[in-house]
């Protein structure tokens, strides 16, 4: 650490292996302080990384993916599909005769698959008992901190088509 030590001061090795017992307390405290400062540096790097990701991220382009035929799913029924990529599971729920909602199936807590709990009319994560509103995907209860990303749907020629993701890291 030549930055912080004057050239005239004693060499580092002499500080690290002191002759007197009392000096050892200083070494351990200074080393601990150095460790804390380095941890603070890594926290700052983390924040800068988030800033870089936020700034450099380009707006996503969304594919149009047919999910199901309208009327194919009964009221209260569920269909799972993948959107926007093949490894992004989503869940489609028919909440009433004319209403369909779709969300990412990955829980925002630890990515367990959420399922539709018909009796309570909400989405549930079985891993840590996280509950999400079926209306907007917001957190009702449990450890998740963020709402489920929503899949925007469009009805075209009797087909429900996923057109984009809303909310979440898009």
């Amino acid at each position: 650490m030549s930055w912080f030590r004057k050239p005239s001061s004693t060499p580092l090795w002499r500080d690290e292996f002191p002759v007197f017992t009392a000096d050892e307390r200083y070494v351990s405290r200074r080393q601990f302080t150095k460790f804390l400062t380095l941890t603070s540096f890594s926290m700052m790097v983390g924040n800068l990384w988030i800033l870089a990701r936020s700034t450099l991220r380009r707006p996503a382009t969304w594919p149009r993916v047919p999910v199901a035929a309208a009327g194919e799913i009964p009221v209260g029924g569920v269909r799972t599909f993948n959107y926007p990529a093949a490894d992004d599971p989503c869940i489609l729920v028919r909440t009433s005769a004319e209403e369909y909602v779709a969300y990412s199936q990955k829980c925002t807590h630890l990515s367990c698959a959420v399922y539709y709990e018909k009796a309570q009319n909400r989405l549930e994560c079985p891993c840590h008992r996280g509950f999400f509103s079926i209306e907007d995907g917001s957190v009702l209860e449990g450890p998740p901190q963020r709402a489920l990303p929503r899949v925007a749907l469009e009805k075209t020629d009797g087909q429900l088509v996923a057109i984009r993701m809303e909310g979440g890291l898009v």
């Binding site: 200083y26 988030i50 800033l51």
Partner: protein, 78 residues
């Protein structure tokens, strides 16, 4: 009144600086987790203030570390 020997006073000052760094670090950890949650929720507006505040907190930690280092050298030299 008995004055503390210079070595003990030095240790007290180092302990105080360490506690202050720990408090700053806790704030920084909270800030990082809050910024990350906000970013993952799709909001990008918190990223810049988060980075600026984190840099200020790191600068404060660095200043305290330099204080500890300097104090340590001074006390050793007597």
């Amino acid at each position: 009144m008995n004055a503390k020997p210079p070595q003990n006073r030095g240790l007290t000052a180092i302990d105080g600086a360490m506690v202050l760094i720990i408090v700053l670090l806790m704030v920084q950890i909270w800030l990082l987790s809050a910024t990350l949650e906000t970013y993952l929720a799709g909001h990008r507006e918190a990223a810049l203030p988060g980075a600026i505040i984190s840099a200020i907190l790191f600068a404060a930690c660095l200043a305290l570390y330099r204080f500890v280092d300097r104090l340590d050298s001074q006390v050793r030299r007597g």
